[in-house]
């Protein structure tokens, strides 16, 4: 087999502070006049990648996983030639297409048709190629009716679909995809995954970065875990994912601090500060097992007296499907006032009937008497649920068996000529 990508001794460093300090030519000139013989001081240096080595064979589908800031995006940017490495080298064979964003270069004022041509050309297609594939691109995206409408009138989902559709028709030798499946509705996600699987069948090399472990596991034959700018582990997908998941439990502890959550909304009179997962006995947990009881303790800080708040929580699967939505309001609880200061509220779940997997929680506090949001954040915390012999038997029940299970039993009374239970085991 031939190597499709080879990465040798790759390093990339960023000089911190460069972006803020010397963006004015004026400042540079002033500095030069004041102190013409002074050499530039070495700045704070951040090594986004350090001595990364790996190679990818033709036709492999590799999932790259790692936490935010681990260097995944920098790696992809170097592989797609957007930025240059500080040292080391990268070799790629054939046409490389990178999809760090869906619909790169889309212009609001242009129609769907015009944007397909523009985007296709920027991604590396010839006009003739776009001409040939135009029908297929549009029908895959499902926006046929709006193809001559400016995309400023498109919904974000339509834009996504059109963007992915152009990319899916690129037919590159090497495809680099970054987290594009994180957005878009479930039906379209599935379509994208199928399209990427077809690529796998077509002998294309794919590098796929995602936080969606289910997608990585389904699509990739090999996983590379990047941590602190280095390859931590490289091997069969599920082994790498397991090791990666296990690293969370030890590092993050049972407390999820909520101080630097992105995209937080609300007016802020009262805010969640952290979340604890506890057992009924009050012991902290980072992972829990199917069917166990769980206490979710939501700590808050009220900056002033808040009247009639309602505390709520929503639970999602890794693919973003809403499992349940509950709040104090829904339970008919009226909290007349919350004094300024810190406190917590507990949600007790008797039996968490979810099958193994990773689940995300969205939290909010709003007013139970008016439509006013004090605090809201999406997918801010996560909880891993591990396998347990939920049916009182030793067979594995994992995510392949669905999302939930119900306390249940099979009755075999109606079967004539019953075998002994032992023969069944």
């Amino acid at each position: 087999m031939t190597q499709s990508i080879s990465v040798e001794q790759l390093s990339k460093c960023y000089e911190l502070g460069l972006a803020q300090q010397e963006t004015q030519l004026r400042d540079q000139l002033v500095r030069l006049l004041r102190n013409p013989f002074h050499r530039r001081r070495p700045k704070d240096i951040l090594w986004a990648l350090r001595d990364v080595n790996f190679s990818v064979e033709e036709g492999e589908v590799v999932g790259i996983i790692g936490r935010n800031g681990a260097g995944k995006s920098t790696l992809l940017k170097i592989l797609s030639k957007i930025t240059y490495p500080t040292s080391g080298r990268v070799r790629t064979r054939g046409r490389v297409a990178s999809l760090l964003e869906v619909g790169t270069g889309f212009h609001e004022e242009l129609t769907g048709r015009e944007n397909v041509y523009l985007n296709g050309s920027i991604l590396g297609m010839k006009k003739r190629e776009v001409d040939e594939k135009f029908e297929a691109i549009v029908s895959f995206s499902g926006v046929e009716r709006f193809v001559d409408t400016p995309i400023k009138r498109y919904s974000s989902g339509m834009r996504m679909r059109l963007g992915f559709s152009v990319a899916a028709h690129l037919e590159p030798d090497v495809l680099i995809v970054d987290e594009v499946l994180a957005v878009g509705d479930a039906a379209f996600q599935k379509k994208c995954i199928t399209a990427m699987q077809d690529m796998r069948g077509g002998g294309r090399t794919v590098l796929f970065v995602s936080h969606n472990m289910a997608a990585v596991e389904n699509l990739c034959t090999r996983g590379i875990w990047i941590a602190n700018g280095n390859v931590r582990l490289d091997g069969p997908t599920h082994e790498v994912i397991e090791a990666y998941m296990a690293s969370f439990a030890s590092a993050d502890g049972a407390v999820n601090a909520l101080t630097d959550v992105e995209g937080r909304r609300g007016s802020g009179e009262i805010r969640y500060t952290r979340v604890e997962f506890l057992s009924k006995a009050g012991e902290p947990q980072t992972v829990t097992r199917c069917g166990k009881s769980l206490v979710i303790r939501l700590h808050y800080l009220a900056n002033e007296v808040v009247e009639h708040p309602s505390f709520g929580i929503r639970m999602y699967t890794e693919m973003g499907t809403l499992i349940t939505d509950t709040s104090t309001w829904l339970h008919g609880l009226d909290i007349s006032r919350v004094a300024a200061g810190t406190g917590y509220i507990d949600l007790e779940i008797d039996s968490l009937n979810l099958l193994p997997g990773r689940y995300y929680f969205s939290l909010w506090v709003d007013s139970s008497v008016a439509s006013h949001i004090y605090d809201a954040m999406e997918h801010a915390i996560q909880l891993d649920i591990e396998e347990a012999p939920v049916y009182g038997h030793s067979r594995r029940v994992d995510s392949r068996f669905g999302l939930v299970y119900f306390p249940q039993r099979w009755r075999l009374d109606g079967i004539g000529g019953r075998l002994s239970p032992a023969a069944n085991a």
Partner: protein
């Protein structure tokens, strides 16, 4: 260097699509459409003709003053407007630069290229004016496109330099309109070169637009060609093109990191 140029050649279609996007977007919601391209130099010409031609009585080498100033404004407007756009081309397209790879030089090039449409429309108007003023056709008119091309090369050369600097130093963006505004007065747009005292003329030759505009007028209206001036202008233009290209090539490696 050869790789760099051959890659640009391979991706030339992107240049076309980016220029097409710029033009399309610019005129999409404008009722008057491309007519806007003519309006700016037209009104400037009317103002100049009134204040400088009529009131101040500035000479115009025997050519009717409106024609004299409009012919220069045709090139000057392209130069000043497009240079600003080329200079900002990387910063305004930062979302492309950080998300996808293609030869970066296509961004300034497409801006310079897109500006040529406006220039083309304006030249149709110039032709109409020349017919109105009964300018006699002469073979030197065939040389006029050469000066248009030189302006485009100059815009590209200076533009690559400015665009690359603009990525790192954002004050370029604020300086540019100011410089092009002042530049109008050190270029023989309002006045002919001969209007200035002799010892100033040498300094003016350092401005490459001087040779271009004087040469362009000579082509159209039949004045004597000042070959020394034109040669000097070409030398500076080509020097800027090489300098701009070299600087751009060395700077483009970090565009995505700092833009």
């Amino acid at each position: 260097m050869r790789d760099w140029l051959s890659e640009i050649w391979r991706c030339r279609e992107i240049l076309y699509f980016l220029a097409w996007r710029d033009i399309k977007v610019r005129y999409k919601q404008a009722v008057l459409g491309v007519a806007w391209a003519v309006l700016q130099p037209l009104f400037t010409m009317i103002t100049f003709a009134f204040f400088f031609g009529r009131l101040a009585g500035i000479p115009s080498d025997g050519v009717p003053y409106p024609l004299f100033s409009f012919s220069a404004l045709l090139l000057w407007t392209y130069f000043s407007v497009t240079l600003t756009q080329v200079g900002n081309s990387l910063v305004t397209n930062s979302s492309l630069i950080t998300k996808i790879y293609f030869p970066r030089v296509l961004l300034p090039a497409s801006s310079a290229f897109a500006g040529l449409l406006d220039l083309l429309v304006t030249s149709l108007f110039l032709v109409a004016m020349m017919i109105y003023y009964h300018v006699t056709p002469r073979w030197t008119m065939l040389l006029a496109p050469l000066f248009v091309a030189q302006t485009a090369i100059l815009v590209m050369g200076a533009g690559m330099l400015l665009a690359a600097l603009n990525v790192r130093y954002r004050d370029v963006k604020y300086t540019l309109p100011f410089v092009t505004q002042l530049g109008l007065f050190v270029t023989p747009v309002i006045y002919p070169m001969s209007f200035l005292p002799h010892h100033f003329q040498g300094w003016l030759a350092l401005n490459p637009m001087t040779g271009i505009i004087e040469g362009f007028r000579s082509c159209l209206f039949g004045g004597a060609f000042n070959w020394g001036l034109i040669g000097c202008s070409w030398a500076i233009t080509l020097f800027l093109l090489v300098l701009g290209g070299l600087h751009f090539r060395s700077a483009e490696r970090v565009f995505a990191d700092i833009v």
